[in-house]
Amino acid sequence: MTNENYSKKVIKTKHTYSFIILTMLLLLCFVVNISLGSVSIPFSEVIQSILGNSSNDSWQYIIQDYRLPKAFTAILVGSGLGISGLLMQTLFRNPLAGPFVLGISSGASLGVALVILGSGLFGGIFASVLISKWSIVIAASLGSFLVLLAVLLVSSKVRDTMAILIIGLMFGSITAAIVSVLSYFSSAEQLQQYIFWGFGSLGNLSWNELFIFFGIYIIGILLAIFSIKSLNTFLLGENYAKSLGLDVKTSRFIIIIATSLLAGTITAFAGPIAFIGLAIPHMTRQIFNTSNHQILLPAVFLFGAVVMLICDSIAQLPTSDYTLPINAITSLIGAPVVVWLLVRQRKMVF
């Protein structure tokens, strides 16, 4: 008995250590992320600027109105995509599922494509009004919301969870096809603008936008936390979940709403950021070696934020004027890490 208690304690302390290390890593990455950029600012001045006492006005402006909101955006995007990916992988019992399997990003793409590529159809003056940043955010939100609504309506008719996965993919194909048709009739300039949106971007948000982003994000996170118990029950499969007294349909609905709120707002404000949502849950499972969502959910939150901050720091190419597309960096850095983790563990933990 003492031996059992001992080994259980060891497991618990191991997780506690991992959480402490991850939290410290998050703080470190946050500070490093803010310190880096095309303008080099001494570290002491970075701290002073955060506190609002910097002697240099332009440095203070860069830190407070550009780098800080960008770092916060990175945290929201990384943790939000990671958690929505985790929810989808558990719900669909599929390691290939991610935050966008329900057609959220394709819906957003369709909305943005209609605004950018379709603006040619509406005439010149109208077009310049249309393509402001807010119009893109609204178009992306509306697009993802409408596609999601369609997926939900159709999937409420089917009992099988796997069918929802296929339906989401089919809606993705339909929107991709419409975008192709729109691209065919668009000018090179419009196409370029659309492609740039597809690169994703963390650095365009003002504090006001960030607050709206955060407001919706936090609802999604709370719903996800509320779903921890049902997610663990889903590990047994739906029939067992039902026999344990779980209202499968309602729980499934809450999980889908949480995912859409998170993935939908992130896509609206930061573009379709690939890979993070798929990879972060896998990396976390390999590192923590558990399927218990009481541990996985906070771990994915921290780990997603850390990885996104690192990717963003790399994307700025420190000391240069260029910023690489964040979408390329997440995959370039993330994919080898996932492969390495899988090879090291020799088996997939799912």
Binding site: E4, S7, K8, R93, I225, F226, I228, K229, N232, T233, F234, L235, L236, G237, N239, Y240, K242, S243, L244, G245, L246, D247, R285, N289, T290, S291, N292, Q294, V349, F350
Partner: protein, 264 residues
């Protein structure tokens, strides 16, 4: 104590099972009258495709009955809330586990879900119930192993422990002995017999191990194309029910040994 004085846990009257299709009802079996008593081990046998799983799935509310009523403790099933039903009946199904990365303790602890708080934390009582279930099924040595490390026989014991931890009057198992070797088939059914006695739970399982079931069960339910009969194994043998189970061209039932023999 005689059988009739024992408390009835589950009772069906006039039950019709099958599937509701667009063209109408496809009836698999009808006029089913069953009465399961407390502390009994009940074996459900029948040929492939006769509807054993459909009957179990209907009793387990995975599937709706076409007609008739199922009562647990004199209350019809549809009057139970999902949570109350989860505290009355637990299942061991044939479906594969989705995640085998749970430790045995974690998996058995999922059986406590109807009793835990909103985030699923285990209370002291929950932990002791889980440990009790683990001890009853003799898997204490596997407690901290991951489920993917287990053999089929070990995993089946873990699933039974999970159902025990759910602390219900009735446990329903769908073919708990498939994929197991002869020894483990006997082991699992013997375990079920012991559990029914020690914990006074009603345990209903379906199986193709008719010989073993005849030796171990208190009551057997025999499904044939015509009827669904239930009685003690000895009575069923006297009545010659087992002879009607299968077509007579290949195997025949031997009343003296209580087992099937291949015809020479």
């Amino acid at each position: 104590m005689t059988k009739s004085s024992q408390h009835t846990i589950l009772k069906t009257s006039n039950l019709t099972i099958g599937y509701q299709t667009k063209k109408g009802k496809s009836i698999i079996a009808d006029d089913i009258h069953l009465e399961l008593k407390q502390g009994e081990l009940i074996g459900l046998v029948g040929a492939n495709g006769i509807g054993k799983s459909t009957l179990l799935r209907t009793l387990a509310t995975i599937q709706q009955p076409l007609d008739g009523a199922i009562k647990i403790h004199d209350t019809t099933l549809d009057q139970y809330s999902a949570l109350d039903l989860a505290k009355t009946m637990s299942l061991v199904l044939t479906e594969q586990l989705m995640s085998k990365n749970l430790s045995v303790f974690e998996l058995v602890a999922l059986g406590r879900q109807p009793y835990t708080n909103w985030v699923g934390n285990l209370s002291k009582l929950d932990v002791s119930e889980v440990n009790k279930a683990i001890e009853l099924t003799n898997i204490t040595n596997l407690k901290h192993r991951k489920c993917f490390e287990l053999s089929d026989g070990q995993l089946q014991k873990v699933m039974i422990a999970r159902a025990l931890a759910q602390d219900t009057h009735l446990i329903i198992l769908d073919e708990p002995t498939t994929h197991l070797d002869m020894y483990h088939k006997a082991y699992i059914l013997k375990l079920l017999q012991r559990l029914a006695k020690e914990t006074n739970k009603t345990i209903l399982f379906s199986s193709h191990e008719i010989d073993l079931a005849i030796q171990l069960c208190d009551t057997m339910i025999v499904m044939t194309k015509e009827t669904v009969v239930s009685n003690s194994p000895c009575r069923l043998i006297e009545q010659g029910v087992f002879e009607t189970l299968f077509p007579k061209d290949l195997i025949g039932f031997d009343k003296t040994t209580g087992s099937f023999r291949v015809k020479k």
